[in-house]
């Protein structure tokens, strides 16, 4: 076997190419001729051992393949000079100018390999097409399908370049697959081809949109060269066209099918027919693509429109809100408890920082670059007066490239009210203005539009507030806000009060695992323990002094998390001077233990969604242990509402999974509970992030029967509750104040209903100075006044009527409270306040920690100390 140098090989390959081209159209077998010439060279050089480039050039030049003499009897010489065609071609090849192959190679490299790879990379990194038109690469399967195009061209080009005739057939199959992929994507891109072409011509941009078409052209050329390599001028066909295309078709099916079932399921789940809806949800639970569904939830306003195949097959006009409802039904979770899904390297591409719900009233999806990086709760508690005050200070950070709005729904303790809102602007604290709900929101939205510094708090259903802060500056910028909440204590026993901690129900920012909420609470009474929450470094040794300092994990802030304090059972009355109304009136609170035995029948509605899985055992045990005298009916809120035949015993057999619409079960429960006077509905449920139809059915029941059954809302886990939000203003709907684990709270409630333990009712009223309580009553802070004002606003709102509502608003603004009729907003400048018709509160009137009374005490102590020191000095001087 002779050895050929590398350069000799290169030259030989080029020569072979020319021979093939030259013998095109003749009866001679080009490959045979090539073999013969090679044998000739090796025979001639047999003594040399190594064949060099020069040897190849010398011998092949000598044996010029003269067309004029031998190539074909039907071919005439090209010129009268008789110069051999082969000679021209060969000389050209020696200069590297093989024209036709070179053109094919350049086209293939540029449009068949580089452009498709570049287009895919741009799309994966930026998601620009997905954001503007449709998503061409929604999953890795699609990426694989598209990459068949450049990959096949790359391999086939290598085969052509090396004249590897033996691989030509195999390359033909790969080329067929690449051709299939190119055709699929060319069809997909047809609608935007004109735009791409125009953009390319006018701006020099837009080639990516043309990548499939140009790739298709290149792939066809490659096939032609492959065919020539394999068959010369013969009339046969190159293998692999149909089978290769079929392979890419199969890949397309694999890519499309999970999404197909998902989209079909969604379409059915949102159809008019209840049977189809149920089938659709079942299909999605069984074979739906959860990630795809989540992606659709995050693509605000796009429905199916971001996928060409699905938008061709399905109606693409489905509102994102409905898709989010379907996501809940399928998974049992609110969509925004999950981060936006990634598709390859990108989240939602270059538009991932776009917040479609900015300035709106919905929390919306999680923003990838927005996070809570610091959280602290400071509080002071007056256990004897059964109230406390906490300030929750939060710092948000935005690592994205555009300004972001942080939004969160905060669950407050039952009966609590927001009484302070502070924003740090350029390091300075700015207090909020309180005004009507509409007025504050309008001021906020107007400033958000101008991208300045506001923060807004409004209520979002009973004991829930919506907080919106804008803008959290981009590129690592921070925004710091503080929410002050006046909290009534939950009294489990006469000598114990529980300070329930607020927590997030819903948010559009991340909270890293490393973030802990630092807590510093102080009370004049000893702290007994904490419930439902583990406070690290809580300082057990300081509990007796009424101090808790420590931190809690974010996951620990949930319903039932609180601090249990000792209180003086004999302090039945507390009072405070109402300085905020500008007079000497007092607000008095009486804590009255009431033993109740009026509950005849309880209808328990048990949500069967996944959020109940951890507590369903506790629920069943607690209900079994202390059944109300009037008996219990259990309604299961499943895919359909139904009465559980076995009652409480049947709870264990309920299938707990996915998400369930609880409204039909609540309607059924209302009908059952209203059969008896004094009926009560106890609704035990997980998060309810979606309402699937207007709540008019329920509202109508209570509006027509205002004294109808009381609905006690017991939510077992943090999360939004759109049903309760929708029933805001219905006085018969009340939240159960959580003070411990679900089972404990149910037991306590049932024992109260059975009359075994009292309910401690806090009755607050405003009286004149002449009714000043006796010395045994406890004087407390102005938070008592705020709690009374909150009660008043609530009462007037429920009574309705223009006058009542106006008075409710005046009361809320006077006492600086966020209520259903009022909001709080911090603006940046006095001009903005003036434009909005608002006035920020006097910093002297806002609640603080320690309480003003404590500051006053400290001031008195300081004055006394100064007096003592001065007196001592005088005494020394005299001496």
């Amino acid at each position: 076997m002779m050895q050929w140098t590398e350069r000799a090989n290169d030259l030989w390959k080029r020569y072979c190419e020319d021979v093939r081209a030259l013998l095109k159209g003749t009866e001679a077998d080009a490959e045979e001729v090539i073999e013969d010439v090679q044998r000739h060279i090796e025979a001639e050089m047999s003594g040399a051992g190594v064949i060099t480039e020069e040897d190849v050039r010398r011998i092949t030049s000598r044996m010029e393949l003269s067309a004029s003499q031998v190539i074909a009897e039907n071919r005439e010489p090209r010129s009268g000079t008789g110069k051999a065609v082969s000679s021209i071609a060969w000389e050209a090849s020696k200069r590297g100018g093989r024209k036709q192959p070179a053109a094919v190679i350049i086209i293939t490299i540029l449009f068949g390999i580089m452009l498709p790879i570049g287009a895919a990379a741009v799309e994966l990194l930026t998601g620009i097409c997905a954001a503007v038109f449709f998503d061409p690469l929604p999953t890795w399967w699609y990426v694989l399908l598209f990459m068949l195009l450049p990959a096949s061209n790359l391999v086939c080009l290598a085969v052509i370049w090396n004249s590897s005739k033996e691989y030509a057939d195999k390359a033909g199959y790969l080329n067929g697959a690449g051709l299939g992929a190119a055709i699929i994507y060319t069809i997909m891109f047809i609608p935007i081809l004109p735009i791409s072409a125009l953009a390319t011509i006018v701006y020099g941009l837009g080639l990516c949109g043309m990548a499939p078409l140009l790739g298709l052209i290149a792939t066809v050329l490659v096939r032609s060269r492959l065919r020539h390599l394999r068959l010369g001028e013969g009339t046969g066909k190159l293998a692999g066209l149909w089978s290769g295309m079929a392979a890419s078709g199969v890949l397309l099916l694999i890519a499309v099918l999970p999404g197909f079932f998902t989209h079909l399921g969604v379409q059915m789940a949102l159809s008019e027919s209840p049977a189809a809806r149920a089938k659709g949800v079942r299909m999605l639970r069984a074979v739906g693509d959860e990630k795809r569904l989540l992606e659709m939830c995050y693509r605000e306003g796009r429905g199916f429109g971001n996928n060409m195949f699905y938008s061709l097959m399905f109606d693409g006009s489905i509102p994102t809100r409905d898709l989010r409802g379907v996501y809940y039904l399928v998974t049992g979770r609110a969509f925004n408890t999950m981060a936006p899904p990634k598709a390859g390297f990108r989240a939602q591409g270059m538009f991932e920082d776009w917040d479609f719900e900015q300035g709106g009233e919905e929390t919306g999806g999680q923003m990838r670059h927005l996070s809570l990086i610091s959280s602290r709760m400071d509080g002071s508690i007056d256990a004897d007066a059964a109230l406390g005050y906490t300030e929750w200070t939060m710092v948000f950070n935005n690592t994205g490239s555009v300004q972001q709005e942080a939004r969160a729904q905060i669950q407050m303790p039952a009966g609590a009210v927001v009484s302070r809102l502070t924003l740090w602007i350029n390091g300075e604290e700015r207090e909020a203005a309180f005004g009507s709900r509409g007025q504050t929101r309008q001021a906020y939205e107007s400033v958000v539009r101008r991208q300045r510094d506001p923060v807004l708090i409004t209520t979002a259903g009973p004991d829930r507030i919506m907080m919106q802060c804008f803008p959290v500056p981009p590129r690592g910028g921070e925004m710091k806000v503080r929410v002050g909440i006046t909290v009534p204590l939950e009294l489990v026993k006469g000598d114990e009060g529980v300070f329930v901690l607020p927590y997030f129900n819903d948010r559009n920012f991340k909270i890293g695992k490393e973030v802990r909420h630092t807590i510093w609470m102080e009370s004049k009474r000893p702290i007994l323990r904490w419930t439902g929450v583990e406070i690290a470094n809580g300082g057990d040794d300081r509990k007796a002094d009424g101090v808790i300092r420590g931190s809690v994990a974010h996951s620990a802030l949930k319903p039932g998390a609180g601090i249990v304090l000792e209180r003086d059972d004999s302090t039945a009355r507390a009072w405070a001077t109402d300085t905020m109304a500008g007079g000497d009136d007092l607000v008095i609170q009486d804590v009255e233990p009431v033993l109740r035995k009026g509950v005849h029948e309880v209808v328990v509605v048990v949500d069967t969604s996944a959020g109940m899985a951890k507590v369903i055992g506790q629920v069943q045990e607690a209900l079994s242990a202390a059944q109300p005298d009037g008996g219990v009916k259990v309604v299961a809120a499943g895919d359909e509402a139904e009465v559980v035949a076995d009652g409480i015993a049947g709870i264990r057999n309920l299938s707990i999974s996915a998400g369930k619409d609880n409204v039909p079960a609540l309607e059924l429960a209302w009908d059952l509970a209203s059969e008896d006077e004094g009926g009560v509905i106890l609704w035990i449920h997980g998060a309810q992030p979606h309402v699937f139809k207007p709540l008019e059915g329920l509202r109508q029941r209570w509006e027509r029967r205002p004294a109808g059954p009381v609905l006690i809302d017991l939510q077992v886990a943090a999360g939004p509750n759109k049903v309760v939000e929708g029933l805001d203003g219905v006085s018969q709907v009340v939240s159960l104040g959580r003070t411990g684990e679900v089972g404990e709270d149910i037991s306590l409630l049932l024992r109260r209903w059975r009359g075994e333990v009292p309910t401690f009712e806090k009755v607050r009223r405003r009286v004149g100075i002449e009714e000043k309580p006796s010395d045994s009553a406890k004087e407390t802070s102005s938070h008592l006044v705020r709690l009374w004002a909150r009660d008043s606003v609530e009462r007037m709102r429920c009574e309705g009527g223009r006058e009542n509502l106006d008075e409710a608003l005046r009361t809320a603004v006077r006492y600086q409270l966020v209520t259903p009729v009022s909001g709080a907003v911090v603006l940046e400048t006095a001009a903005q306040y003036k434009a909005a018709g608002l006035e920020p509160v006097d910093p002297e009137t806002v609640p603080t920690i320690p309480e003003p009374e404590v500051w006053a005490l400290l001031a008195i102590v300081a004055v006394v100390l100064v007096w003592v020191v001065l007196k001592d000095r005088r005494r020394v001087r005299i001496a």
Binding site: L23, D29, V33, R39, S46, S66, Q69, V70
Partner: protein, 115 residues
């Protein structure tokens, strides 16, 4: 004038080359390289080494010659060509045709008319 002659020789060589190859193989089989060296030495035939190979390939495709590879101790395997039956018939026809044509053409110069 020179150009006319060049063109004429090209036309003349076209058919003669095939006849020459078939004739060279009529006595015994020859390997390609040997055949090339034999024909290259014929003056006026004006054949280059490279011209022979496409021609042999075409003749093989047309079933006028057959080829076989024989291992060689002196170098690479040799490809031996020989005439097929069809090749022999064609050779005979070519020779007969050429002889009669040449004979007729030559007599024109000697002033003898064809009957």
């Amino acid at each position: 004038m020179g150009e006319l002659f060049d063109n004429w020789t090209v036309q003349a060589r076209k058919g003669i080359l095939e006849l020459a190859v078939l004739s060279a193989l009529s006595s015994r089989e020859r390997y390609a390289y040997e055949l090339v060296r034999l024909l290259v030495d014929i003056p006026g035939l004006g054949v280059s080494e490279g011209t022979i190979y496409p021609l042999l390939s075409r003749l093989r495709v047309q079933n006028l010659v057959a080829a076989r590879l024989v291992e060689s101790t002196e170098g690479p395997a040799r490809k031996y060509y020989n005439l097929t039956g069809e090749g022999r018939k064609t050779l005979a026809m070519m020779r007969g045709y050429l002889e009669s044509v040449l004979k007729g053409v030559m007599t024109l110069g000697e002033g003898k008319e064809q009957p």
